[in-house]
């Protein structure tokens, strides 16, 4: 993009969270009238940088220049006033209000006596949306629109508030191909009108198609900025994962041979499961004694899929079978009684922080320990075994779970199911936020459980986790299973390319 002047210039940006560097000495520049794609793995620092630009993170080092003048935003409101708007992956629309009200959110026009000028609002919102080529009834209830349209309306709200720089975080993850097409058309119109679009995405094909410029991040550093026309997907992947650049990361392109167990009996089978917009027509089998990895980007539908398999969500279509019989999954208790165990991705949804460790561990097997009266001594003894087995520190079964460190809390969430001896164990993001040692512990435990003959499903957005644990890998993309890796050689770059 020669001839255009930089709108926004960042230099020497650093930011750390609790002693961990999220961004280290990053220089970054945005030009007027460009679509700038931002790519990188989870934790590469792209979201952190965008939140600094959008005024969400205010505590950082480095300088930011807008139109050549140094600025420092103290809030997202500051950034908006300066013409920088952000559309998050989780849309912040109000589904019970009309489209027009959403466009005018927080800035409703009023008449002479301070009442909301409904008619004017509807008319102006309609004009604005039509001007962007968005064909929608301004009176329609927001929640009744498809996600793609809701996203367009939110985008138009950001534009309407006067944004010159619009940051889109994973805008295509929930969209169908025609919706993506429409979004891209709109982005091109905006760019030609002189606005700057920042497009953060895991979907490299989408980034390549719509961007003029692409910047790659890795481990909190900017790796490279290049014109999109000069590069391709494999070039980007290579720079994202740093092959040949960093000895530490050499393992990322290392070939891993999958030893799938095709003959083992099926422990759990899902047939043609669908759940509204979350996922469609998902069929899979988990065999006894194997680890099935399900890999996909955030928002690909795996969070909803694993909840369905544990009876927490009801699918619209399809059946879940164990031992050839369809399960009546009326609730999670039914799934547990059938022999399924589930460890969710967030500690908040698996632990009782204000209860002692032993009660957190015994909860899943209380009905086996006792029919009527509790057996606290037995509970403590069982919890004590898990403390030793999982190296939980400090080794106390009485300690309230909220006072353990994050990694140890995660182990306690897993410990809950180790006495249960499930037939099928479902793990969602089992290593999220763990340090290297704790990750190794979890990989060791999961391998041990597999060797006991338990069928294990590991759903993760972290390729390393899937590669370290799985015997067979399914790749999920936008709610569908798009690729299976079995009995073949796999590596991180191939996994990323499939997603």
């Amino acid at each position: 993009m020669s001839g255009t002047s930089p709108i926004l210039e960042l230099s020497g940006i650093s930011k750390s969270f609790g002693g961990v560097d999220a961004l280290a000495d990053v220089d970054f520049m945005l030009n007027g009238g460009e679509v700038h794609g931002i790519v990188g793995e989870n934790g590469a620092g792209k979201s952190t940088l965008m939140k600094i630009i959008a005024g969400v993170h205010t505590d950082f080092r480095g300088t930011m220049r807008l139109d050549g003048a140094e600025v420092r935003f103290h809030s997202a409101r500051d950034a908006q006033a300066a013409g920088i708007g952000m559309v998050y992956q989780e849309l912040s629309v109000v589904s019970d209000l009309s489209v027009a009200e959403n466009v005018f959110l927080g800035r409703q026009p009023t008449d002479a006596i301070g009442l909301i000028a409904w008619r004017r609002m509807a008319r102006e919102a309609g004009d604005h949306l039509r001007g962007l080529g968005i064909d929608v009834d301004p009176q329609a209830r927001m929640g009744s629109l498809p996600i793609g349209m809701q996203q367009m309306v939110e985008l138009s709200r950001v534009l309407f508030s006067g944004a010159r720089v619009i940051i889109l975080d994973e805008p295509t993850s929930a969209l169908s191909p025609p919706e993506i097409e429409r979004l891209f058309d709109l982005l091109r119109i905006l760019r030609n009108g002189g606005r700057t679009i920042v497009f953060i995405s895991h979907f490299l094909d989408d980034v390549l198609r719509v961007s003029d410029t692409i910047t790659v991040f890795r481990n909190g550093r900017k790796v490279v900025t290049a014109a999109a026309a000069d590069i391709d997907k494999s070039w980007i992947i290579e720079r994202m994962i740093g092959a040949g650049h960093d000895e530490l990361e050499a393992g990322y392109t290392k070939d891993i041979r999958l030893c799938s167990k095709d003959c083992a009996p099926i422990a759990l089978q899902a047939d043609h499961l669908s759940l509204s917009r979350a996922y469609r027509d998902v069929s899979l089998t988990v065999r006894a004694g194997e680890v099935l990895g399900v890999y996909g980007f955030m928002g690909c539908g795996q969070i909803e899929l694993v909840r369905t398999l544990f009876g927490g969500l009801k699918p619209d279509h399809g059946a879940i079978r164990m031992g050839g019989r369809a399960l009546r999954m009326t609730n999670t208790a039914a799934a547990r009684r059938a022999g399924i165990a589930f460890v969710p991705e967030s500690r908040r949804s698996m632990l009782f922080f204000l209860e002692p460790m032993y009660k957190n561990v015994s909860i899943s097997i209380l009905d086996r320990l006792s029919q009527l009266l509790l057996k606290p001594r037995k509970e403590r003894q069982i919890a004590g075994e898990q403390v030793r087995r999982l190296h939980i520190v400090p080794p106390s079964v009485e300690r309230l779970v909220g006072t353990f460190s994050g990694g140890n809390q995660q182990k306690i969430g897993l410990a809950k199911w180790l006495n249960f001896l499930p037939k099928v164990l479902i793990l969602s993001e089992p290593t999220r936020g763990m340090d290297v040692g704790a990750k190794a512990d979890v990989v060791r435990i999961v391998s041990g459980l597999r060797d006991q003959g338990i069928g294990i499903l590991v759903a993760s957005t972290e390729p390393e986790t899937v590669l370290a644990m799985a015997d067979r890998v399914l790749v999920m993309k936008k709610g569908e299973i798009v690729r299976e890796f079995a009995n073949e050689v796999i590596s991180k770059d191939r996994l990323l390319a499939a997603a």
Binding site: S47, T48, T332, S346, F352, L354
Partner: protein, 345 residues
Amino acid sequence: MSAPGTDTTAGRPSSASPPRFHWLRDQLRNIAPFITLLSLVVFFSVASPASFLTWDNLANILTQISVTGIIATGLTFVILCAEIDLSVGSVANAVGVVLAFFTAQDASVNIANVPLPGWIAILLALVSAVAFGVVTALGVTVIGIPSFIMTLAMLQIGAGVCAMLVRGQIAYNVPDFIKVLGSKAVGPVPWIVIVAALVLAVGHFVLTYTRFGRYVYMVGGNREAAEYSGVNVKAIVASVMIIGAVCSGFAGMLGVAHLGSAQQDEFVDYLLDSIAAVVVGGTSLFGGQGGIPNTIAGLFVLGVLNNGLDHVKIDSFLKVLIRGLILLAALIINIYAQRMRSRWT
């Protein structure tokens, strides 16, 4: 890491401060009611030593808190589960009226009632209590109406049942068995005090020593975690709503005998008193923390306060205000206790 509000581990201390150091702070919800109780007893003893500090008056206080105590036992289950039941007074009233409706009344009582043998009347009253609980439970768990609103509707339905059955009249007679429990005494101890103590003891036993009790605490402590531990959360919530209604109904039967009449709007004060007893006692409004011992402490605080105010020279209109202020103070402590404990989660 891209979406706001996702669970990140950054910025959380890797090991929180040792629990023993914060014992006092963590026990705030358990200590506060005892300090309040002690202060009230000391205050009233000094203010009116001759009439407040007597055995007779202790018996008075115990009798006065008995009906509330039975209702509060059920309500403790409900609040521990992070739900609420606003229909307790109304259900108590309705069940008490049902009991009287099926009991032979004096000729002077002009209601079209259906006299049945005493044990059948008691049984029917209990069935009606269970029925109230089941309707509430279905509304909350199957339909998904928040318990706050659902029990508000049940409050009105209970009042409606009372109105339909007594039609503005007052019934006086209940089966002999209930009459004994509600208004007679063994030696110096009224039966109703013994019954209330038994109900509280059973409640404590169930909550502390049974599997069901553990589930109540866990569901109240973190409903999502309970669900993903394979606990049938809806069944537990339904059970506590039914327990709440049955306790209220039982209290209503004894209350009718204790008060000597069954009529409309007889139990209005019991709603506030029983909720106040549970909350003043320190059971968390967010669920999962507290228990029957807290409720007992709360019952005594309220009992001593209500009783003591009668022994000092004070504007009787001011009493209502004082009770409100005490309740407000308890709520503030309740919220702060919760906030302090949640700090390291």
